[in-house]
């Protein structure tokens, strides 16, 4: 794509950013002393730091590469992703974040088992966490592969494997403290890169977004500016299904949810959501400028030629408008983004394995810190290898829509169980385990039956493959039926010690008081009162 010296520039920038993030990892790992540090950064991250880290986790390759490409090639239909990814934060903030923080300790399963004291609950939650993280990682690796292929002209398979090795090093060495600082660094870089691109695009239109939209209308056509007219009921339902996954999915994403366990109290959890929602929202608000900018300056044909679903639109835009230096910068940022997000995912998945499955199920909670550590590290390697292998055949898909599938699985398997654990008094463990399994199996199953995997032979007709319209209601239904038909009823379960009393869960999830808060007060209570 460029001359030899430009390659040198690109590679120099790359190496610099990788060294920067590795340096942070190394520095942080020196402070990573305990198991609690490894999983949740010792619970002492500040609100704005955590907000930036959430933004870093959330603004993945899907947001930066995928949405820009989707808007460049499909117009408004790509903007659904921006809207849904943002509004989803209301579900997290209003319904899930504080109760989760108040009940959980290290992982999603900790929160669920605060109420359902059963190893089957814990292992199901671990499986679901690993499956969702895997879906999400595959999307990131597909983006990474395309990017490195474009940048360094090495084959897709090698670039996927290379990224895979780097991310494994991060996580095995650094743990959560490191990924938190990487996310912060990377969120800042990503926003700077996007703002630079937006600035250059708009400077061509006298800083008037309307002029940009006018140019889109005259050069690409007005169809790019509105949603496609309804053509068939299947297509319409496909849109609804995608949007259900987008708005509910975030509340079930393990790697986002565990971020709320890294803050000391509910107030900090709230302030971190405020920070992240502003950053993420402003970023998504400029995605149409990036997408339409790419369509206008790079051209839809050139975007398709580089990656059929537009995954490289943003770096291509940087190269067209800013030359090799901006291109190198934007690509390096995208690369850092992918490594950082994937590290967060591997961490969530390997914690689920080590903490929930290995320690609490296999070892009955009796594994030492160092044994847990080793299990987490081995799991991280295994999970990375599996994701690399699964990413290899998916080179042609748009990464934002791949990520939307991870959202669909999260919305189906985790969200019904999380919501009902917090809000439904009669909910029992049979319902919780059944809901999670049914949501997981139906959503993953429908994706496999969709055109995305089976192509022409697809049985599930939604082109985007988003199963949420069917699998989310199935998840809720299974929770309900499991509770009503199976099992012993919440009251019996409580008597047998399988479930914590809902009155207690309700108070704890709403107040965030820890046992010591009350004990302390009890100790101070005057005698004979």
């Amino acid at each position: 794509m460029f001359g030899l010296s430009d390659y040198a520039t690109a590679i120099t920038f790359f190496v610099l950013i990788i060294l920067l993030t590795l340096g942070i990892t190394a520095y942080a790992s020196m402070q990573n002393k305990s198991t609690s540090d490894h999983y949740v950064a010792g619970g002492k991250i500040k609100g704005w730091q955590n907000g930036l880290a959430i933004a870093g986790d959330y603004l993945s390759a899907a947001s930066f590469l995928g949405i820009a490409g989707a808007i460049a090639l499909q117009g408004f239909a790509g903007f659904y992703l921006s809207i849904g990814f943002l509004v989803a934060f209301l579900v997290v903030l209003l319904l899930v974040a504080e109760p989760l923080r108040n009940l959980g300790k290290y992982t999603l399963a900790d929160m669920l088992t605060a109420r359902f004291n059963m190893s089957s609950m814990r292992s199901t939650a671990a499986v679901s966490t690993i499956a969702i993280s895997m879906f999400y990682m595959i999307a990131q690796l597909v983006g990474a592969g395309a990017l490195i292929k474009l940048l360094l002209d090495i084959p897709y398979a090698y670039s996927v494997i290379g990224i895979g090795i780097l991310m494994t090093i991060y996580i095995v060495v650094g743990g959560m403290v490191a990924t938190t600082y990487i996310q912060i660094t990377k969120a800042v870089l990503l926003i700077a890169g996007s703002l630079a691109l937006t600035f250059i695009v708009l400077s061509n239109y006298g800083f008037n977004p309307f002029a940009l939209f006018n140019a889109v209308e005259s050069e690409i056509g007005s169809t790019a500016l509105h949603p496609p007219a309804p053509s068939s009921i299947t297509q319409s339902l496909d849109v609804i299904s995608l949007n259900i996954a987008l708005v509910l999915g975030t509340a079930g994403l393990p790697h986002i949810l565990i971020r709320f366990l890294t803050v000391p109290d509910a107030k900090t959890a709230r302030s971190s959501i405020v920070w992240s929602t502003w950053i993420i929202g402003l970023f998504y608000l400029i995605t149409p400028i990036l997408g339409y900018g790419a369509a206008l300056f790079v051209g839809q044909d050139a975007i398709r030629a580089a990656s059929p679903e537009g995954n490289l639109a943003a770096p291509q835009l940087a190269s067209t408008l800013g030359g090799p230096i901006l291109f190198a910068f934007v690509s390096a940022v995208a690369f850092a983004t992918i490594i950082a997000v994937v590290s967060g995912l591997v961490l969530a998945a390997s914690s689920a394995f080590a903490h929930d499955f290995y320690t609490n199920v296999l070892r009955n909670g009796e594994a030492s810190d160092s044994e847990q550590f080793r299990a987490a590290r081995i799991a991280a390697i295994g999970i990375s290898v599996a994701a690399i292998v699964l990413a290899l055949p998916l080179q042609g898909a748009n990464v934002a829509f791949l990520v939307a599938l991870a959202f669909a699985v999260a919305a189906s398997a985790n969200v019904p169980v999380i919501l009902l654990t917090i809000f439904w008094r009669r909910f029992n463990s049979t319902g919780a385990v059944a809901g999670m399994i049914v949501g997981l199996v139906s959503s993953v199953g429908l994706v496999i039956l969709s055109p995305l995997v089976l192509g022409e032979a697809a049985i599930f007709p939604f082109e985007r493959g988003s199963p949420a319209l069917i699998s989310v209601p199935l998840g809720f239904l299974a929770c309900y039926l499991g509770t009503v038909l199976g099992g012993r009823g919440a009251e019996r379960e409580r008597e047998q010690g399988l479930q914590t009393d809902y009155d207690e869960i309700y108070v704890r999830s709403l107040t965030g008081l820890r046992p010591e808060d009350i004990d302390q007060e009890a100790a101070q209570r005057p005698r004979g009162h």
Binding site: F210, G281, L510, D519
Partner: protein, 106 residues
């Protein structure tokens, strides 16, 4: 220890401060959640089944974009309204803690 703790939690739940908090929280969350879900799904429903959003609203901007951008502002505004409320509720939690310490809720 565990069963003792359980009794403590239940006592917190019985305090008048906690009851007030729980009531206020529900009174806010239920309508707010219904509102933002309706507001959110309005866009894909209108867009997927009708063409009412396809016309121009302001200059080249279609109603779909106006609605889409309105979702951003809806999110930010509702977020701040919630956080304001929730920060006030923290005082009620604090009060509930004191009420338990003073022996209420037995």
């Amino acid at each position: 220890m565990d069963s003792n703790m359980h009794e403590e939690w239940v006592r917190v739940g019985r305090t008048s401060a906690f009851q007030e908090y729980s009531r206020k929280r529900k009174a806010f969350l239920i309508p707010a959640t219904i509102f933002f879900l309706l507001f959110f799904f309005g866009l894909p429903l209108l867009a997927a089944f009708t063409t009412v959003l396809n016309g121009k609203a302001v200059g080249p901007l279609t109603w779909a974009y106006i609605y889409g951008i309105a979702q951003f502002f809806m999110t930010w505004i509702l977020m701040h309204v919630y956080v304001n409320q929730a920060n006030k509720w923290d005082d009620l939690v604090e009060r509930a803690r004191h009420e338990v310490a003073e022996g209420e809720g037995r």
